[in-house]
Structures are given as C-alpha cells and as structure tokens.
C-alpha cells in the first residue's frame, strides 16, 4: 500500500492550526472565534492521529478521544456564554465586552 507520507498530514495540520490562530486573533464575532478554537483543536487531533498511525501506537488515538470530549464540553459552555452575551449586549462583537479592565 502506497501510504501517504506523514509529512503531508503534518503540513496540513500546521496550515489548519495557523488558520485557526489567525482567525482567533483577527475575528470580532464571538462565534467565529469559537470556530477558530475548534479548528485549532482539530488540527492538533489530526497531528495526533497521524503520529499514532506512523508509529503504530494507540497513545495518540487515546489523546484524540480526550480532546474530542473536552471540545464537546467546551462547546456547550462556550455557546451558553455566547447566548448570555447576546442577551446582555444585543451583539456578538467581542470588542463590546471590555468592562473587566484596569
């Protein structure tokens, strides 16, 4: 079987992660930022899976399951915060949430 080399997966993972970071920093909409975080998590998952396959070990897969579970919990909490925010501010713009300072 002509396997795809691991470097392909890793490059893809790095590109996805980079996109996530950029979106995380530059986007104003809280839902978009949220999606950026999910993107980064999944980019990391991809890297884990690739390594697990390359070295025939289960550790990476176990990690991925954990990340998926945490990401699900995070999505629940995060979306709840987004809803609460919208109810209070009538907006999802992160820049309007700036009371906690100095």
């Amino acid at each position: 079987m002509n396997a795809v080399p691991i470097s392909f997966y890793l490059v893809l993972s790095a590109v996805l992660f980079g996109l996530g970071v950029v979106a995380f920093v530059f986007k104003r909409n809280i839902i978009t930022i949220f999606m950026a975080i999910e993107l980064m998590l999944n980019a990391v998952n991809l890297a884990f899976v690739a390594f697990a396959r390359a070295w025939n070990q289960l550790d990476g897969l176990v990690f991925v399951f954990f990340v998926i579970v945490v990401a699900a919990a995070e999505a629940a909490v995060g979306l709840a915060i987004a809803i609460a925010l919208y109810q209070n501010r009538d907006s999802l713009n992160i820049e309007r949430v700036n009371l906690l300072k100095f």
Partner: protein, 663 residues
C-alpha cells in the same frame, strides 16, 4: 526548712499582688485592692521573718546560703542562673525593705484614698517591692541588674503616676533618662566583670578576686563602672538632678522609693561588691570623695529650699552621700547601718511631710504654713523625732550611724581629714535645714488663710505607720549603743562575717568601725564612761547642736534675720536658691545641643531624608511600575488573545532550541 529552700516565695508574693491588682483591680472595691496589696506585702514580710528565724539556725559554713532555681541564660561559657542568695547583708536589706514597704502600703490607703487609679497605684507599689527584693536576693550581677532596672521602671511609673500633669511626666522621664546614663556604666561594668572573671556569680567572682590574680587597674575600672550605676541610681554628684524632681510623685512613693529603699540600692551594690572595691584603692577613694562632696553639696542647697518635699529630697541626696562616704572609707557596715536608720527616719520624714501636705490640702510651700504644732500633734511629734534622728542628736538612730561613718572617715584605716571635714560641715548644715523645716512648719504664727484651709490630723491608717517609724527612729540605732561604752556593736558584729570573708587583710577592714574591740586589743585601756563622754561630745554632736541653735535663732527668736542675711549675701543666696544653676548648665551644655542635633540632623536629615526617603522611594517605584503595567489589562479580549499567541510562539521557539540558534 521551708522558706530557706523556697526563697522564691518571698519574690512571688508581691509579684502576684501586683498582677492581681493590675489586671483585675479596676473593677474591685478599695477594700479588695487594699487587702490584695497590703496582704501580699505583709505575707512577704512574714516570710522574711520566718526566713530570719531559720537563718539563725544555720551554721557559719552554710552562709552565704545560695539556692539555684533554674538556668536563665546560657551562651558558651556565659551562664546566668536564677539563683537567690541569703547572707547577713541580705537579711538586713530584706527586713528593711519589706517592713518599710508594709508601712508605706498601709499609709497609702489613707493618703491615696481620694485618688483615681487607686488599684494602679497599689499594683505599681507591689511591683516595686518585687523588683527591690529581686535586687537584694540576687546571687549574681545580672539578676541583680534585673531588679536594678525593674525598680527604675517602677520609679518612673510612680513619679508619673498623675500622668495628666505635664511636670510629673517630665520628672518621670528625667529620672529614667538620668539614671540610664549611670546604668550604661553599670552595664559595661558587668560585661567587663564577666570578661575578667569568667562568671557573673558573686561567689565565683569574689573567690577569684581574693586570689589576687586580677590586676588592680582592671579592678579599678570595673569598680568605677559599677559605681557609675550607683551614682545614677543613688542620686550622687553629678547625676543627682533627677531626685528633687521625682518629688512630683505621690508622697508615699517619695518615702518608699526615693528615700528608704530604691535610692539606697547603689549603697547596697557597693557593699555587696566590697571584695572588688576593697582591692581597688582608687575606686574606694572616688566613692568616698563623691559621697562626701554630695553630702556637703546637697546640704547647702537644702538650706534655702521652700518646698517641704524638696528640702527632704536634697536631704536624702546628702544622706546617701554619707552612706557612700562610709563605704568609701571601708566602713561598709556603718554605711549599711546608716542605710537602715535612714530608711526609718527619712521614710518617717516623708510620710510626716505627706501628712502635713494632706492636712494643708495640698500646700507644699513652707512659707504658707506655720503654727501647725497644735493642729496636727501626732504628725508634729513623729516628725520632730525624725528630725532629731537625722540631725544626729545623741540617743536617736541617726546619731549612731552617722557617728560611725564620721568616725571611720576621721580615724579609720582609710581616714581622710578633708573628707571627714566635709562630712562634718554637712552634718551641721543637715541639722540646720531640718530644724528650719520644723520651725517653719510647726512653730510661729499660721501664715495660711485659716478660713480657707481646714487643718485636720490625718486618719489612723496614716498616723499609725508614723508612730511605728518614730519608735524605730529612736531605737533602731541602739544595736550599736554598746559600742559607745567600748563594747561590741551588735549591728556591726552581725554583718561582720559578710565583710570579713573577703577582706584584704582580715581584721583591718573592719578595724575602723570595730574600734571598741580594736581598742581593747590595742591595749588602750577602755574606760566606758570616758568613751561615752567622748562620743556624746564629739564633733558631730557639737555641729548638730550648733545647727539646731542657729535654726532656732533664725526662725524662732529673730524671724527677720533670714531675710536680712539673704539681702546681704544676695549672690550666694540666689546661687543656692537656683541649686547652683546645675539644671540650667546641663540644659545648655548637654540637653540643648543634643536636642538641636536630634532635631536638625537626626530628625530632619537622617530620619526624614535617608530613612523615609528610602522607604518612600521603594514604594514609589512599585507604584509607578504598577501604573505602567496595568495598561496591559485593557479589557480587550483580542489583545489578550494576541498575548497568548505570542507567548505560545515564544515558548515553542524556546522548546525547539531557537534560543541556541540565536546565540
């Protein structure tokens, strides 16, 4: 032997009394405060009486009786035990201190009856007794120093007892700070003592001193340093200035602390340290010189004072001078004897003066008194007896002790004619100013407004102590009476083991005051009648009578004379009235420069500039750094996100060895 093994009980009783009254007494009635205060001291007195009974059964080899309770400090070879010691000298001091304290406590219930802070007064007084007993019972120099400083503290607290009165506070501070100068010398002396002898324990130090391995120069320095402490505590030249001001305190305090007990601590210390002093002739001479000069000097100031308590204060300074003169010429027993009789008659004089002040509703100026003889007879008679005693009229306590001191100064082994002469003139002056006090206060016509001041005799609680002390002022000196007939002086003989144990050459040291015994041994045929006649017509008696007569002439016969004399000797009179301007000289030479230096250099430059500057500078750096750093906390979530990314990138770079590459 219960008390001998449990000497600490004597200390614990007044301490417990002080703690009870001080911590709980605020809400107690006066009766309870009285019973705690007087009860603890009378129990302590009874314990001392029991101690004397047990002590009498000890064999000579068991004295000094030392009991070690626990080790207080150990550091290398330095070791201080909480150990107490009893010998004949301690017994005399214990009896005097507890008995006079007891009388003063009883007297105070009458005198302080209308004062605020009644419980506080008794608490301090008990605390004082505790520290004084510690001082007397201590078996090493450091523990003695604890008592020494403790009585100083109580003195401070009691002088400033009326702490709402500015003058009382200043007097308290003055007393504390002035004695501190002497105590500095005392502390250095203790250190030097330990350095030289390798121990602070009396027995070890004395034994080593008796070996004669320590040089005279070293001993002289140690003795002079220790004596500096005595100068401060016992108000001798040049540190006597605090004692007259200490009269701001309540009169019972003046009687107990500033006449009978605390101020004599210096004399006790010199007598206790006699094995060192006896081996340092120069130090001995300094002690005698300071004593004689003070005796004379303070007496001259006493001549013109008008405040009844101030006269007694200068008189106390003068009498303390006699005690040091006695110790300085090697007659330690005579010095201690005078300490004891002085405690009786001077305590009595102060208590009687308090009774006069009480009767006059607070008036202390003798010019506003007069003719009180018939109004307050008990006070008059007791005070008159005390005056006879202090003046040295034969038959009264002061005669015996003062005579012994002057005898030793005039003809003992360390005799010095000029010191003897100073003491003699001082004795004449003493007689004069004391009878002046009596004549001004009790004789002549009343000079107060009889309609305003209702003169009344003091209550029984005050007059009974007066009468007891009057009894002692007469008979307290009779232990020495057989000496006049060329026989044994019982007081001297009682203390003899203490002062003979480490004498330079056994026998010589005490030869001065055991003149009777020496006379017999020397082959001079002692004729009792001649001896008695000689003593009764000796110079001290003659000058005392002259003083009496002059006072009588000046203040009874020709009351206009003092004023005329003051006019004709204007300069001298003003000098004396202003106490030789010593307070002013000290203010100009020491206090004002010190105050200037403290204000302008230590306060404004060092404190405000350097210390405050450093502390405030550190605070300002922190505050301004914080001002800058808080800008990071912008509230903008995206900037936080950026920081997270920067941090993550930086950390990753570090992990990948980026740092190594850059380097």
């Amino acid at each position: 032997m219960p008390i001998l093994d449990h000497l600490w009980i004597i200390l614990a009783l007044p301490l417990a009394g002080s703690a009870l009254n001080g911590l709980l007494g605020k809400n107690w009635s006066k009766t309870v405060v009285n019973s705690v205060g007087i009860g603890s001291v009378s129990l302590a007195f009874l314990a001392v009486v029991e101690l004397v009974r047990e002590f009498a059964q000890l064999s000579a080899a068991q004295i000094p009786w030392v009991r070690n309770y626990f080790t207080w400090i150990t550091a290398g070879t330095f070791r201080v035990d909480f150990s107490l010691r009893v010998d004949q000298l301690t017994i005399v001091m214990l009896l005097v201190v507890t008995f006079v304290s007891l009388l003063v406590h009883i007297y105070s219930t009458g005198y302080m009856a209308h004062e605020e802070g009644y419980y506080r007064f008794f608490s301090y007084l008990n605390l004082f007794v505790f520290f004084m007993l510690t001082l007397v019972l201590a078996a090493n120099v450091v523990l003695m120093f604890v008592g020494w400083e403790g009585v100083g503290l109580c003195s401070y607290l009691l002088i400033g007892f009326w702490f709402l009165k500015q003058s009382a506070i200043s007097a308290g501070k003055k007393a504390f700070i002035t004695t501190r100068i002497g105590d500095f010398g005392f502390t250095v002396g203790i250190l030097y003592l330990f350095w030289t002898f390798g121990s602070v324990d009396f027995e070890k130090v004395f034994a080593k001193a008796a070996e004669g391995t320590v040089g005279v120069g070293t001993l002289t320095v140690i003795c002079l340093l220790l004596f500096a402490g005595a100068i401060g505590k016992s108000a001798q030249l040049p540190l006597y200035v605090w004692l007259p001001d200490a009269m701001e305190g309540p009169t019972p305090v003046s009687a107990l602390i500033h006449a009978a007990t605390m101020v004599t601590a210096g004399v006790y210390m010199v007598a206790r340290m006699h094995p060192l002093f006896s081996r340092a002739p120069i130090a001995m001479f300094v002690v005698a010189l300071v004593g004689a000069l003070t005796a004379f000097y303070a007496a001259t100031i006493g001549l013109v004072q008008t405040d009844i308590k101030k006269v007694l204060a200068y008189s106390t300074i003068s009498q303390l001078g006699y005690m040091f003169l006695g110790c300085g010429v090697g007659a330690y027993a005579a010095g201690i004897f005078h300490l004891m009789t002085h405690a009786f008659f001077k305590g009595l004089l102060f208590l009687a003066a308090g009774s006069v002040i009480h009767a006059m509703a607070g008036e202390q100026d003798m010019r506003q008194m007069g003719g009180l003889r018939k109004e307050i007879p008990i006070t008059y008679w007791t005070m008159f007896i005390a005056t006879l005693a202090i003046a040295g009229i034969p038959g009264f306590a002061g005669f015996f002790s003062k005579d012994e001191i002057l005898d030793a100064a005039g003809s003992g082994p360390h005799a010095n004619l000029s010191l003897w002469l100073l003491g003699l003139i001082g004795a004449g002056l003493t007689s004069f100013y004391m009878f002046r006090l009596i004549f001004l206060t009790f004789f002549g016509k009343p000079r107060y407004d009889e309609h305003k001041v209702h003169v009344h005799e003091s209550p029984r609680s005050m007059t009974v102590p007066l009468m007891i002390l009057a009894f002692l002022s007469i008979f307290g000196g009779w232990f020495a009476a057989p000496h006049l007939l060329g026989k044994t002086d019982y007081f001297e003989a009682f203390l003899h083991p203490v002062f003979a144990a480490y004498a330079v050459q056994p026998g010589i040291e005490q030869g001065a005051s055991l003149a009777g015994a020496a006379g017999e041994a020397g082959g001079i045929s002692p004729n009792p009648a001649m001896e008695l006649l000689h003593a009764l017509t000796g110079p001290p008696v003659i000058v005392a009578l002259i003083g009496l007569l002059v006072a009588w002439w000046f203040y009874i016969r020709r009351p206009d004379l003092p004023k005329k004399l003051a006019e004709s000797l204007r300069g001298l009179y003003t000098l004396l009235l202003h106490k030789y301007y010593v307070d002013e000289i000290y203010a100009a030479l020491i206090i004002r420069p010190l105050l200037w230096f403290s204000t302008n250099v230590l306060w404004h430059v060092v404190d405000e500039g350097v210390i405050d500057g450093t502390v405030n500078g550190v605070a300002r750096v922190a505050r301004e750094g914080g001002e800058q750093a808080r800008e990071l906390q912008s509230g903008n979530a995206r900037s936080y996100a950026t920081w997270v990314v920067i941090g993550a990138v930086g950390f990753t770079a570090l992990m990948l060895g980026f740092w190594e590459v850059v380097r």
